[in-house]
């Protein structure tokens, strides 16, 4: 493994107002890994990613990405990091091409270069026919493809993906998974956040589970399994303190009947 970690978090704390969202996260990720970053709703996943992106500067603790301090060098970090947020907004009165041109310009890429690249990428995602149509009419899957391209356009070294498969059809899901794999083989670091346990189980080299602002499990799936030989889904609910979903389901059904 690469000795220099790409992402390093030490004792990371973050609060919104009076509520403490992250309670001391410690993490170290090296290049070429796909990290599955999972946790229940509100566990602090997006907050961690936003801090790593330099979008939330008022945290305490240490956060270093690509050897740069997030607090002081966020612009330089952003240049080399890609981010695909969940259900993200995009300027949908634009066409995909215009939108990607705009995003590319924010990374100070050459316009002709962006055009060529964007058209190629759109073609590979089978959006060629829609390259010049306004995105207001796009389906969720088509938007998600545009978002994925916009996050990867500048060929980043570290990629944060939040529910990147949402809305995609089965073929596109296979394609995106394969892209993620090959990006990792190329030495990119991928931070993959999702609620779909089976996908995370298959795609990740390493799995980190957080709950209530703390890391509660960290290791390869095999390592995690070693402790308790189960599926990731079962493991997850066990670790996040939500066992006995069967009885909850029974109660749910009974409440419906009443």
């Amino acid at each position: 493994m690469n000795p220099d970690p790409v992402i390093q978090l030490q004792n990371l704390h973050k609060s919104y107002g009076s509520s403490l969202v992250l309670k001391g996260i410690d993490l170290s990720v090296s290049a070429g890994q796909v990290v599955g970053y999972i946790g229940p709703n509100g566990a602090g996943k997006s907050t961690t990613i936003k801090i790593l992106m330099g979008m939330l500067p008022d945290y305490s603790g240490e956060a270093v990405v690509l050897g740069m301090d997030v607090k002081t060098q966020s612009i330089d970090i952003k240049r080399r990091v890609g981010y695909v947020p969940e259900n993200a907004a995009l300027y949908d009165t634009l066409t995909p091409l215009e939108y990607l041109q705009f995003i590319g310009q924010l990374y100070e890429l050459d316009l002709a270069h962006i055009d060529r690249k964007a058209l190629d990428l759109l073609r590979l995602f089978q959006l060629s026919d829609h390259a010049n149509a306004r995105m207001t009419t796009f389906s969720k899957g088509m938007r998600q493809k545009v978002l994925l391209i916009s996050g990867l356009l500048h060929n980043p070294d570290v990629i944060f993906l939040d529910e990147p498969l949402s809305g995609l059809d089965a073929n596109a899901v296979v394609l995106v998974k394969e892209i993620i794999r090959q990006l990792a083989n190329d030495g990119k670091t991928i931070f993959y956040s999702s609620h779909l346990m089976d996908v995370v189980e298959k795609i990740s080299d390493r799995i980190i589970i957080i709950n209530q602002g703390q890391v509660i499990a960290d290791g390869t799936f095999a390592e995690l399994q070693h402790q308790r030989p189960e599926s990731l889904e079962q493991l997850f609910s066990e670790l996040t303190g939500n066992e006995g979903q069967t009885s909850v389901a029974e109660e749910f059904i009974n409440t419906l009947k009443n």
Binding site: M55, I75, V81, P85, L106, Y107
Partner: protein, 554 residues
């Protein structure tokens, strides 16, 4: 228009670089924003008129209107008086420019200034907060400049022909600087607002502020012509006083005077310096101290979703029960009750609805009071209080009209999937909520004013007018295409608005005149009252019986 702005921007490249922005990024952001504006149906300027198709035409139409209004004012104020007396007219001109800029900024561009979709799209990119902030300022300022230019174009020609090109150019420069100054002051205003209110309340506060501004804006149509009419203003030169140095439009006016007269005494030089320095100082100050603070504040607005669970305190739970209670009193069946409570709550929380409705109601009241004080003409007549009562009816219909519109119109699939037997109950329940919530308080205010001013014996007229207004409201609801509450997209509402408005005014006039006729007959009003109430009840039952066939679903 986009190309012109970008061309100007390119000329100013080194200025932006000097201010610490990354020019190519700034260019890209401004370009994209302007392109989107030209495609988007202009929600922010929507209240100026209904847009059709490409909205940049709409904006140009607004500019044309401004040019005409500005032109008329300029002719009246700058065309006639001798050059010694121009100080006050010029002050008024600059006040007008500044007021319009400030109002545009606060009421129309709040959404632009506080736009949080940028947070998701631009914040993850390597764009410094200074660049983003400057791009926003440029975006907004380009609109303000367009507005300012259209307002002053006639004045510029008048000044050029009367006092030479130099004064006209100075006037132009100072007008643009006024716009810049307003950007500065609005920024300060927002920052102060953010200091005193929690971020989650900010949008709420701004919403109410917008409502107040809108009322003032409508009201100023009434007041402004009267101000201009007063001849005394322009007939004598003004002695300069100490407090004049605190009034920004006076700086601008004084500075313009230096060229017009021309005069270079101490007073005018101070004005000139203030006029030229402050906008730039403001810009520098904002750029130096406020940018990071501002973007950070704005990005935290997004987070208010996190804290909402805690806002559901016992007080609001109590309130909800109270709404249920009111719903119980006024509704017949459970479907109607549900629609009543639903409408009541949405109308209290949907900012767009409030922004579209409350200013109209406020203006209705303000207009009636303004006219009644005018003396002579309409205000003094016996007829006036009736006019006032019925005139108010028009404004209430706006609320009924807005009831069907929502940004969340897509959520109306629920009406389709739920097994609703009598959709009319939903319609009537939600109309009742509007009546109880908006119409009754509005009429209470209006009629207490009428009773106070014209005597308590007008109570019968007030009651009949209220009942008649209900009848007309119901007729309007029955006659227009019926849709479920909050199920229509804003943009879809533009058609046949004027025709409908005309028809309503006509009917109102007829009913109002008939009412006037009744006041001539002894006890006529008292006899008509039960009839009107009966009709009202009957129409409500009809409305409640609306079947699915007569409801338009998206």
């Amino acid at each position: 228009m986009v190309t012109i702005i970008l061309w100007v921007l390119d000329r100013l490249k080194s200025l932006f670089q000097g201010l610490g922005a990354d020019y190519s990024q700034l260019h890209a952001i401004v370009q994209v924003k302007l392109t989107m504006d030209s495609r988007r149906s202009f929600v922010s300027l929507g209240r100026y008129g209904k847009q059709s198709g490409e909205s940049s035409n709409n904006f140009i139409r607004i500019l044309a209107i401004y040019a005409i209004i500005g032109g008329l004012i300029s002719f009246a104020m700058l065309g006639v008086p001798p050059k010694e007396n121009l100080f006050l007219p010029l002050t008024l001109q600059f006040s007008y420019i500044m007021a319009l800029c400030a109002m545009t900024l606060i009421s129309d561009f709040s959404s632009v200034i506080l736009d949080s979709s940028d947070n998701q799209i631009i914040l993850p990119r390597p764009v410094s907060s200074r660049t983003l902030w400057l791009a926003r300022v440029v975006h907004i300022t380009s609109y303000l400049f367009a507005i300012t230019l259209s307002l002053t174009v006639v004045s510029i020609f008048i000044l050029a022909s009367r006092f030479g090109a130099a004064s006209a150019l100075l006037f132009l420069l100072l007008s643009l600087l006024s716009a810049v100054l307003m950007v500065f002051l609005t920024n300060i205003f927002y920052l102060v607002l953010m200091k005193f209110t929690s971020e989650e309340k900010l949008r709420e506060v701004i919403n109410y502020f917008q409502i107040v501004m809108a009322i003032l804006f409508y009201g100023s149509y009434q007041v402004l012509p009267r101000l201009i009419g007063s001849e005394r203003l322009v007939s004598e030169p003004l002695a300069h006083q100490g407090w004049h140095y605190l009034v920004p439009p006076m700086w601008m006016a004084g500075a313009t005077e230096t060229f017009i007269q021309p005069v270079f005494d101490q007073t005018h030089l101070i004005f000139l310096v203030l006029a030229l320095i402050t906008p730039f100082a403001g810009l520098w100050f904002m750029n130096r101290f406020l940018t990071t603070d501002f973007t950070q504040k704005i990005s935290s607005i997004d987070q208010d979703g996190r804290t909402t669970p805690s806002t559901l305190t016992s007080a609001s739970a109590h309130r909800q029960n109270w709404v249920e209670q009111v719903a119980d009193w006024f509704t017949g069946n459970s479907l109607e009750r549900a629609a009543f409570a639903f409408t009541w709550r949405i109308t209290s929380r949907d900012r767009k609805f409030k922004l579209k409705t409350y200013p109209q109601l406020g203006f209705g009241l303000a207009y009636v009071i303004a006219i009644s004080f005018q003396g002579g003409g309409l205000g003094s007549g016996n007829f006036f209080y009736l006019f006032a009562l019925y005139f108010g009816g028009i404004y209430v219909m706006v609320a009924q009209y807005q009831l069907r519109v929502s940004d969340n119109y897509r959520a109306s699939w629920i009406y389709g999937s739920a097994p609703i037997q009598e959709p009319g109950s939903i319609l009537s329940g939600s109309l009742k909520a509007i009546i109880i919530k908006l119409l009754v308080p509005f009429y209470a205010l209006l009629s207490s004013y009428v009773l106070f001013r014209y005597g308590f014996d007008k109570i019968s007229d007030v009651l009949l007018a209220f009942s008649n207004s209900l009848v007309m409201l119901l007729s309007a609801a029955l006659l227009s295409t019926r849709t479920m509450p909050f199920s229509v997209e804003q943009d879809a509402m533009k058609q046949n608005n004027t025709a409908r408005g005309l028809l309503i005014s006509l009917v109102l006039a007829v009913v109002g005149f008939s009412h006037y006729g009744l006041t001539r007959i002894p006890f006529g009003v008292w006899v008509a009252l039960p009839l009107s109430i009966a009709l009202c009840w009957y129409l409500l039952q009809q409305y409640k019986k609306t079947a699915w066939e007569s409801i338009e679903m998206a």
